[in-house]
Symmetry: C2
Subunit: 264 residues, 2 copies
C-alpha cells in the first residue's frame, strides 16, 4: 500500500497549503516535494523552454524539499526527469484559492502541474481551497490555525478511496475544490464556463500615464451541476478533467464551414 | 462584409508572422493589432493578476499597433476591455512554430490567446507555421522571403470560408497548423496526445553546479487522424477545439472510485 507520491503546487515551496497537503499525504507513502521556488499563480501550464532551470534542495521545518526556479509544470518535469522520481500519483496543491471553471483549468498553475503529469502518463489530482480573505497588508495569505483541517480530511478521504477503488478510467486529472466553509458533502461536477466577469480597471501612475489591472466580479448565476455552483453551496467539488480538448461534437459543423476547401 | 478583427500572437508585436497575418487579414476588414511587447512563447493561457499591465501605441512599417507588457491572454483582455475593440473574430498568430497535440493547446501562448477570446464569447482562430530551422546564431527565427506565402493563402481561404458559411457550432477555437512544406490539402484532425517525448538535459555551469534544459525528441509514430500525423504528411491541419475539459465519459468511473464518500 506504500505509494510514491510527487507533491507540487503553484504557490511555491514555502506555502502553508503545500505542507498541509504533505501532512495529509504522509500516511499513504513516500512523498517527494518538488515545487516552484517562488509564487507562480495564474501561469497555467507554462513551460520554460527558453531558459535553463535550476533546482535546489531546501529544508522546511526539518523536511527535505526541492525548490525549482520555474513554473509548476517545470517542477513536475524536474521531479520526474531530473530527480528521477517515478510516482504512483502526482498531487498538486493545496492551492490557497479556488480553481474553478473553464478559466481555471487553463490558467491555474496548480491544475497545470497536474495536467502536465497526466500528459506524461501519471495520475494527477489538484486540490484547491476557497479563501475569502485577501491576505495581510502585503497580500500574503494568512493561514488561520484551523484553516487546513477540512483540507486534511478531504485529501485523506479521496486518497483512501482512489487507492482502494483505483484511479477512474477516462479521467486524466481530478480537480478537487474545497469551500472555505464546508456545508455539504462531495459533489461530482462539470466545469462552469467562467468564474469571473473579465474586465480591466484603468489607473493613472504618479506621472499621469495609464496602466491596467485585470479585475472583475465573480459570476453569481452559475448553473446547477457545475463546480462554481457546488462551491457556492458549500459542497466539495470533484471534477473529472480530460486533456483532450478536441471538439468532437463540432467536427461536422467545421466540415460544413470549410466545405469549399476540403478535398474529402 | 467588412469585419472587425482583433489580431494578437505570442511571438510579440514585431514578429514577421504577426504582420504576415495582418496582410492576409486586411481584405476582410478592420484589423486591430494588440500583441505582447516581447516574446511570450510557451506561456499558455497565463494571465497577469498580480502585476499591472501597460499598453503602448507603437508604429510598425507605418501601421499602428498596440504593444502590451504582458502575456497573449493579457493582450486579448487589453484589446477587448481597455481599447474597447468589439471584434467579430479574434485571430492569433501566425506563430513561427507548430502548435500541435494536447501539450500545445495548454502551453502555447498563440492558442492560449484564442482560448481566452473564446471564453469571453468571441470566435477565435489560431494559426501556426511549422518551421525547420532553429533561427540565427542569437536564436531569432529567420524569415525567408517566400516563407509566409502559404500562410497568406491559408488565412485567406479559411477566412473566406468562415465568413461565407459561419463559424462552426460546438467549436470554441479553430487551431490551424501549416506544414513548412505543404504537400497536401486541408485535413480536419483531432489532437494527438503528445508532440515531444518529455525529458531534461543536465549541464554544469562554469562553477560546476547543475542546471537543466527541458528537451526531448519529436514523437515519430503519431496516429492517423491526429494533427501531428497530418503535419508529418505535409497536410494543413485544422482542429476544432473546445474549452470544456470536463471528462464526461469518465464521470461514472469517478463516481465508482469515490463511492465510499459520495452521498448521492
Amino acid at each position: 500500500m506504500e505509494k510514491r507520491i510527487l507533491l507540487t503546487n503553484d504557490d511555491g515551496v514555502n506555502s502553508d497549503g503545500l505542507w498541509a497537503a504533505y501532512e495529509a499525504l504522509l500516511p499513504f507513502g513516500d512523498v517527494l516535494v518538488c515545487a516552484p521556488a517562488t509564487q507562480q499563480s495564474a501561469v497555467g501550464r507554462s513551460i520554460s523552454i527558453f531558459e535553463p532551470i535550476r533546482a535546489s534542495q531546501v529544508m522546511h521545518n526539518g523536511k527535505i524539499a526541492y525548490a525549482v526556479g520555474g513554473t509548476p509544470t517545470d517542477s513536475v518535469i524536474i521531479g520526474l526527469h531530473a530527480l528521477n522520481w517515478n510516482p504512483d500519483i502526482v498531487i498538486s496543491g493545496i492551492n490557497i484559492g479556488e480553481n474553478l471553471s473553464f478559466e481555471s483549468i487553463m490558467t491555474s498553475g496548480t491544475v497545470g502541474a497536474a495536467l502536465e503529469a497526466a500528459n506524461q502518463g501519471f495520475h494527477g489530482i489538484a486540490f484547491s481551497l476557497q479563501v475569502q480573505d485577501q491576505g495581510d497588508k502585503f497580500g500574503h495569505s494568512i493561514s488561520s490555525p484551523g484553516m487546513f483541517l477540512p483540507v486534511h480530511k478531504v485529501i485523506g478521504e479521496i486518497m483512501t478511496q482512489i487507492l482502494k477503488h483505483g484511479f477512474p478510467e477516462g479521467v486524466d486529472v481530478i480537480n478537487v475544490n474545497i469551500p472555505s466553509h464546508v456545508r455539504g458533502g462531495y459533489r461530482i461536477t462539470r466545469l462552469a464556463e467562467k468564474l469571473f466577469v473579465t474586465g480591466v480597471e484603468e489607473r493613472l501612475d504618479p506621472r499621469g500615464r495609464p496602466y491596467y489591472w485585470i479585475n472583475g466580479p465573480l459570476i453569481r448565476d452559475a448553473k446547477e451541476g457545475t463546480d462554481v455552483h457546488a462551491i457556492a453551496q458549500g459542497e466539495i467539488s470533484v471534477t473529472p478533467i480530460t486533456l483532450d480538448c478536441t471538439a468532437y461534437s463540432g467536427t461536422e459543423s467545421l466540415r460544413r464551414s470549410l466545405s469549399g476547401i476540403l478535398s474529402l
